[in-house]
């Protein structure tokens, strides 16, 4: 058992590392998006700042800090300032319970590769990510602008609509794993059938759940084709029309941090987390799980960007009809069929 001091110290070290990695990942997801979308549209993307434009995120960060921050006197100040902070704090916090690998022993201390290993991991992630709605709704209301209000309302209606399907699509996985702990869910997916097909949930009949989750996740994070809240051709920028400089950057970072969280959850729940072939010397075997996990997340982010470069935007009534009339019945059907099959098997 660790003493209280060591426990807090280890937690803080892990938190600092996780924050640095997450914020770097957020910055470079933006770079990746600009680069990939650029190439899809026959452009180059960022090229000027550093080799391949790699220093572009750094330049953007500096620019965000030194930009003039316009706060209209008509806004409701306390909520106007709190909204981006709420968005970003909850977008970052969900990483706290996401495991990235097995247990390791460093300097005689046995610790999981995760900020904290709780047995309610999945519930906490869902709870924290749904708090993000508050940031968006408050930003839209407090900005005192018509576009912001419409964007905020649309965003909150859309996010709550798709949250139902998102939650229901996870129930099949919970039936399979029998635990809320993200680590247990990943452990239940270890091994392979006939040494070829891995026992990931997606190959255990949860393939429909996976696509329901993916669609709902796109809507939850307000990404194309579901980016109605920020539809720039009709709403200027939606709920962050009135925001500038660092406050705008916070909404921006929150969106990309949410994308990364959603990608992590998808890999953990459906694609076997960090499981993958292990080979080579001991140090390579220690690093490979991290690499496989990062590869999955990269794959998801790439799909996100690819979809953005390919699909047009939905109309709002289509979006709502799709969420309530297609995705929700599919999610309920998937849950009932999974329950029946698991019950008949056992």
């Amino acid at each position: 058992m660790l003493s209280v001091g060591t426990f807090v110290l280890i937690s803080i070290i892990k938190i600092v590392i996780a924050l640095i990695v997450l914020l770097t990942a957020v910055a470079y997801t933006v770079w990746l998006e600009r680069k990939v979308v650029g190439h899809i549209q026959n452009r180059w993307g960022p090229t000027r700042v550093g080799p391949f434009g790699l220093l572009q995120p750094l330049a953007d960060g500096v620019k965000f800090i030194f930009k003039e921050d316009l706060t209209s006197p008509h806004v409701y100040r306390p909520l106007y300032i709190a909204a981006p902070m709420i968005s970003l704090i909850f977008a970052l916090t969900s990483i706290a319970v996401i495991p990235v690998g097995n247990w390791v022993t460093v300097g005689g201390i046995h610790t999981p590769l995760q900020i904290t290993d709780v047995n309610m991991g999945l519930l906490i992630v869902l709870g924290i990510t749904s708090m993000g709605v508050y940031g968006v709704a408050l930003a839209g209301w407090s900005s005192n602008s018509k576009y912001s209000l419409l964007g905020g309302l649309r965003a909150s209606a859309q996010m709550v609509s798709y949250e139902v399907s998102l939650g229901l699509s996870l129930i099949g996985v919970l039936i399979m794993a029998g635990s809320f702990s993200l680590r247990d869910i990943v452990d239940a997916q270890g091994g392979a059938y006939w040494h070829v097909i891995p026992r990931w949930n997606i190959f255990q009949g949860q393939i429909f759940a996976f696509f329901i989750y993916l669609t709902a996740a796109f809507a939850e994070t307000n990404r194309i084709p579901f980016d109605l809240p920020e539809a720039e051709t009709e709403l200027v920028a939606g709920y962050h029309t009135e925001y500038s400089a660092m406050k705008f950057a916070m909404f921006f970072m929150a969106e990309y941090a949410n994308m990364i969280t959603v990608a992590c959850l998808a890999s953990l729940l459906f694609l076997g987390g960090w499981h993958g072939p292990l080979f080579g010397p001991a140090w390579l075997q220690a690093i490979l799980p991290l690499f496989w996990f990062a590869l999955r997340i990269f794959g998801f982010l790439f799909v996100y960007i690819w979809v953005r470069g390919t699909l047009p935007r939905f109309r709002y009534d289509q979006l709502m009809a799709f969420g309530w009339k297609v995705l929700l019945p599919l999610a309920i059907a998937n849950l009932m069929i999974t329950g029946l099959i698991v019950a008949l098997k056992s």
Partner: protein
């Protein structure tokens, strides 16, 4: 273990200090030249017409109510799913009855037109 939840609060505290500090630091270094035209709410270059917080469609309220109904149901299903194997056939039948009632309600709201946007 309950102490495993403590790092989550440490995380919120760290981030909750870091973000306001970033905002304050930006406040110290950025230029500040407010001007009446700059501070107007954005409305495509013209002076704002009418009040910003006008009336909006009642559909948003309906969506909110439907969300509460279905989200409570999701939360109800989560513990059932985790204990699924322990509950066995009895748990499955109970939940199928619950879902059947829910689906009847779902069909009713669909027929009533609560899911239509226009």
């Amino acid at each position: 273990m309950p102490q495993n939840y403590v790092p989550i609060f440490i995380f919120i505290a760290v981030v909750g200090v870091l973000i306001p500090v970033t905002l304050l630091a930006a406040k110290l270094v950025r230029p500040d030249n407010p001007h009446r035209e700059k501070l107007l709410p954005y409305e495509c270059g013209i002076d704002p017409v009418d009040r910003a917080r006008g009336r909006y469609t009642v559909r948003f309220y309906i969506i909110a109510i439907l969300f509460v109904v279905f989200d409570v149901e999701t939360i109800f299903l989560f513990p059932w799913a985790v204990k699924f194997k322990a509950l066995g056939m009895f748990g499955l039948l109970e939940m199928l009855i619950f879902l059947a009632i829910l689906i009847v309600g779902y069909i009713w709201i669909w027929k009533k037109g609560a899911l239509e946007w226009v």
